[in-house]
Amino acid sequence: MSWKDEARAGLNDIWPAALAAVPIGLLFGALAAGKGLSPFEVFLMSVLVFAGGAQFAAVELWASPAPIAALVFSTALINARHILMSASIAPKLKGFSTAQTFGGLYYMADENWALAEKRARTHPVTPAYWFAMVVPFVLGWLTTSTTGAIIGAALGDPKRYGADFAFTALFIALTAAFWKGRVTAWTVAAAGVASALAYKLAGPPWHVLAGALCGLAAAWIAAGDLAEKPVESPAE
C-alpha cells in the first residue's frame, strides 16, 4: 500500500472516535474554566499532557496554587496503564524512524492505541497510518477543550447547573468501562471507602493515595484465586 492509502486508512479508522470525543473535550474545557484555568492554560495542558482521564482527574484536584505533587502523582497513577500499552504496540510499529517512534508515542492514547492494535492484526502499522490517525485526534482534543474553556468561562459557576457533579458522574461511567467483574467490585469498594475516610481524616491530596493503594491491595487479594491460571494478553 502507498503511504496515501495508509493515511486514508488511518483517517477512516479514527473519525468515529474523534467525533465521540467532541462533547468530552467541551465538557473538560468548561470544567477546567470553572476551576479558574484560562482557555490558553487549558490549551497548554491539552497540548502538553494529552490524556483525557488524567486531565479530568487533575481538574477535579485543581486548587490555587496548583498542588503540583498531587497532580503529578495522580497523573502518573492514572497513566501507568500506558506502560503496558506501549510495550504491546511498540514491536508492531513498522518502518518508524527513532524520531517517529518517540514523537508518535507522545500522543498515544487509549483510542488510537486500541485502533492501532486492531490494525496490527491484519496490516503492519506504518508511520503514515499512525500519524494520519493521531494528528486529527489530537487537533480535535485541542480545539474542543479550548472551546469548552471559552464557553465555560462565559457560563460562570458550574455549580449552578450541577456541572461540578459531572466529574463524579463521568468517572463512575469510566470506571464501568474498565469493569472486569468481581475483582473490580472489590477494587471500587475499597478505593471508595479508603478515599472518603482519608479525605475526612487527613484531607486532600492524601485521599487519592489512600484510595488508590487500598483499591490495588483489594484487587491483589481478590485475584488470589486467579494465581494458578495463565496470564492473559496485556489488556487496556
Binding site: F40, E41, L44, T168, A196, E236
Partner: protein
Amino acid sequence: MTVDPINLAAFLGMALVTYFTRIAGLALVGRLNLSARAQAAFDAIPPAVLIAVIAPSALATGWPETVAALVCGLAATRLPLLGVVAVGVATVVVLRMVA
C-alpha cells in the same frame, strides 16, 4: 494569554510523567511477564484511581451527591459515557432542590 507559572510547572510535571509511561514500554518489549495477580492489580489501577479521586465528592458531600452517584452507577450499566453524565447531573440538580 497569561499563564500562572505554578500552573505551567504542574502541566510540565504531568506531561513528563505521562510521556514516561508512553515510552517506558519500549524498554519492556519482550521482557514483560506479570503473574496473574500482578496483572489483576495492574488492571485495577485505572478504576482504583478514578474512584479514589471522586469518592469525597460522592460519599462525603451530602446525601444528594451520594444518591446521584448510585444512580450513575446503575446508569453506567446501560448508557454511554455522556448519557451517564446527563443523568447524574440532572439527578443532583433535582435532589439539591429538595435537600
